[in-house]
């Protein structure tokens, strides 16, 4: 008789609504499925933003799934009207793009939070945010954004989309229309026509590079990143777009970190590093470490760390890592 009761108990454990093993498994399955869909959407968006298109192969690579499962995933997503296939290319639909933007927003807001408030090391935040970005509503993200002071960029400098799925507006200029000798960052490289794209890549230019124009003639444009010179024909160079550096980057170019100020030097604070946000930045500002303040090291420690600085008449000790985030110019 006992085994019947045992069987009954087993069935009960398995089929109990909501908390049974089967129900838990289904919950897990659907959460996993949702994560897969969202990761796929992110990949598609990522590809579209760099003006390439995703393919089933690239998707299989990024999700680390066998081709059969990827094919099934693509069919699923097509039926949900999230993407459409054009030949071998996968394109996001408007609905798919909206959802993808939502995930990107969740990811970058979480990165901001983890870096600023939870003080997690920068190389750890991406994976942690990857785990947390799923399962948040728009309203929850609005709350998070408000609590963080409406950040516009994540800790890596990438823009955080708004609730409506718009990226903060960045004005881009073809490099041919840029002034000589003014620093700029490459924000876009046009991949059509392919022959020009090939030449740009062959010259060694890449996205995110900081460059300036050092020579411009009707025959060629010479760019420099401070070490290497890149020569392009003006027609080719027109496919490279740049944007002004954030003012913080410009200011940093002529400053040194406080930590490398020597004992007999005095410095004037230029700015606090962009990487310092949230709690730490508030603390620095509270102590009077504002731009324009004169500061100089006064007391060393026999272990080299921390060091005490005289600022506004008071003596404040800072660790090397903190002092490296305060940019000063020697005076």
């Amino acid at each position: 008789m006992n085994w019947i009761w045992l069987l009954f108990l087993l069935l009960f454990v398995a089929w109990l609504p909501r908390y049974g093993l089967l129900a838990l498994y289904q919950d897990w399955r659907s959460a996993r499925q949702r994560e897969l869909v969202e990761d796929a959407l992110k990949h598609l968006l990522d590809r579209e933003q760099s003006a390439r298109h995703a393919s089933p192969e690239s998707l299989a690579g990024i999700l680390n799934l066998p081709r059969v499962k990827v094919t099934r995933l693509i069919t699923d997503m097509e039926s949900q009207n999230l993407l459409e296939t054009r030949g071998a290319e996968l394109h996001l639909t408007a609905e798919g793009e909206r959802w993808a933007m939502h995930i990107v927003r969740a990811h970058r807001l979480w990165e901001r939070y983890l870096a600023d408030e939870a003080r997690m090391p920068l190389n750890k935040i991406h994976n942690e945010a990857q785990r947390r970005e799923h399962s948040f509503t728009d309203a929850q993200l609005d709350e998070l954004s408000a609590a963080l002071g409406y950040p516009t960029r994540d800790p890596h400098g990438d823009p955080i989309p708004s609730r409506e799925g718009k990226m903060p507006f960045v004005e881009i200029t073809p490099v041919t229309a840029w002034q000589n000798d003014v620093l700029a960052r490459i924000v876009h490289i046009e991949d059509e026509p392919a022959i020009a794209y090939e030449q740009i890549l062959a010259a060694g230019l890449r996205l995110g590079q900081t460059i300036r124009i050092i020579e411009r003639t009707p025959r060629r444009i010479v760019l420099s990143d401070g070490e290497t010179e890149y020569r392009l024909a003006p027609t080719v160079a027109a496919n490279v777009s740049v944007a002004p550096l954030p003012s913080s980057e410009v200011a940093k170019a002529h400053a040194i970190p406080l930590a490398s100020l020597t004992r007999d030097q005095r410095g004037e604070i230029v700015q606090l590093d962009e990487a310092v946000q949230g709690f730490t930045r508030r603390r620095f500002l509270d102590l009077g470490l504002t731009p324009g303040t004169v500061i100089y090291p006064e007391l060393g420690n026999f272990f080299g760390d921390p060091r005490a600085y005289r600022v506004r008449g008071t003596l404040i000790a800072l660790r090397k890592d903190q002092a490296a985030q305060i940019w000063v110019k020697p005076v």
Partner: protein
């Protein structure tokens, strides 16, 4: 409707703000403050920081810095332990005399024996014990500590030691809360308010208990004197005992770092938050204020909390010792029942029982142990001499060197007293962290004593 329009407008304008606008706000606040200060405050001509700088160079120098720190800490602890000893005995004499007088009065008016016993041998005795053991050391330690604080020396200690704490993922100011813990762990936990970053503050709170407080020193000193120092010549006794206690304290500090390191890499993972430490100019200490803050804010405050928890503990101890079960009392029965577990940890049932009823105040651990060992109905000091205590524990109750060592380790590592637990809850406002603070310390104590006991048995030492 208007409000919504304004909000919507603000929403669109927010996007156009530059990232540094908060910095600009603070900057303008500071320049406004500077302008006001320039109008109102006249700087003394030629005032420089030369003298302060000289002292700073000295106390943070590689050769003099560490010795100065250790000597100062040594002086404070020596003052506390030796000075408190005399005062404690005098205070105990007075308070116990009052107890005898009260008991006599109750007997005279014909109160039943159990009322007399409960009130005078239970509640009052525990209170008198806690006050006489706790008050003198705190009344010496806290003013001495506050003196260094007022002088402006303490932040320099944090400055000197920060590199060590940084390695453990903690904050340099934790050195100050640890030093405060020598006086009282509850006061140490309150002192963590000086650490402004939440993560590092929590680490300091959770590990503060690994520094033995005044209440635990008597136990350590007793064991060190009776067991360790007895093996050496009488002339060396006090030195060996002091050395042993210092050794135990160092083990505790070692556990503080180890646990800080573990916490900052597991549950409290994260990068070191802003380390900012103000080094104020040296000031002439204000003696009146020192006495006021250290006696009222710290000593009386802590003592009051301890008395609140000691009174019920005294009642429980008296009940346990005076309810007879068969031919022994309830305390003995519980101790026998706890014995197998105690032996596993290299301790015994009586020690565990003493630690359970002494959760309110560690000061009464030794008297409770003595009470159970000697089968009396009230807490007592035990035999008057070291040799007498040695005889009672070793020959009468089967103690070995392992019991002595493990008791010292257990006294160092075990859970915080009730006052400290309560304080941890008040400071963290979280049941979770309060429970964790108890589990961490108790778990460490069990684990370490179990390992030493097993190791000693494996090597055939006991």
């Amino acid at each position: 409707m208007e409000a919504n329009k304004i909000l919507a407008k603000a929403e669109t304008l927010r996007g156009t703000l530059s990232t540094g606008f908060r910095d600009e706000i603070v900057k303008s606040l500071y320049s406004e403050a500077e302008a006001i200060a320039r109008r109102a405050v006249k700087p003394v001509e030629g005032k420089r920081y030369d003298f302060d700088q000289k002292i700073d160079r000295l106390v943070t120098s590689p050769i003099a810095g560490l010795p100065i720190m250790l000597i100062l800490l040594g002086i404070i602890i020596w003052l506390t332990v030796s000075g408190a000893n005399v005062a404690s005995i005098a205070l105990a004499d007075v308070l116990f005399a009052v107890g005898d007088w009260g008991r006599a009065l109750f007997v005279q008016i014909g109160a039943p024996w159990w009322i007399t016993g409960f009130i005078w041998d239970g509640v009052y005795l525990a209170l008198a014990w806690v006050v006489s053991v706790m008050l003198p050391p705190m009344a010496i330690f806290f003013p001495a500590f506050t003196f260094l604080e007022d002088l402006g020396y303490l932040p320099r200690v944090a400055f000197n030691l920060d590199w060590l704490f940084k390695k453990a993922g903690a904050h340099g100011k934790q050195s100050l809360t640890m030093a405060m813990g020598f006086g009282c762990n509850a006061a140490g936990v309150i002192a963590t308010r000086v650490i402004d970053s939440p993560r590092e503050r929590l680490i300091a709170i959770l590990t503060n208990n690994f520094v033995p407080c005044n209440g635990r020193f008597p136990t350590l000193i007793m064991i060190a004197t009776v067991f360790v120092a007895a093996a050496f010549s009488p002339a060396l006794t006090s030195f060996i005992a002091a050395g042993t206690v210092v050794g135990v304290v160092l083990i505790g500090i070692g556990f503080t770092f180890l646990m800080s390191w573990l916490l900052s890499r597991t549950v409290l993972k994260g990068e070191a938050s802003a380390f900012t430490l103000e080094l104020p100019p040296y000031r002439r200490p204000n003696i009146a204020r020192i006495l006021y803050t250290s006696i009222l804010d710290r000593t009386i405050f802590v003592l009051w909390r301890a008395m609140q928890t000691a009174a019920p503990a005294g009642a429980i101890i008296w009940i346990l010792a005076n309810i007879t079960v068969g031919d022994s009392n309830l305390a003995r029965v519980i101790a026998d029942w706890l014995n197998p577990f105690g032996l596993l940890l290299g301790l015994d049932g009586v020690i565990l029982l003493a630690y359970i009823i002494a959760i309110p105040a560690n000061e009464i651990v030794v008297p409770t142990m003595m009470m159970v060992y000697m089968g009396t109905g009230t807490m007592i000091n035990g035999p008057g001499t070291s040799a007498g205590i040695f005889d009672l524990l070793v020959n009468g109750n089967g103690w070995t060197m392992l019991t002595a060592v493990n008791l010292m380790l257990f006294a160092l590592l075990h859970n915080p007293c009730a006052t400290t637990i309560l304080t941890i809850y008040r400071e963290t406002k979280s049941y979770k962290w309060t429970v964790i603070s108890v589990l961490i310390t108790l778990g460490t104590a069990f684990l370490v004593t179990f390992l030493t006991a097993s190791f000693a048995r494996l090597m055939g030492w006991v």
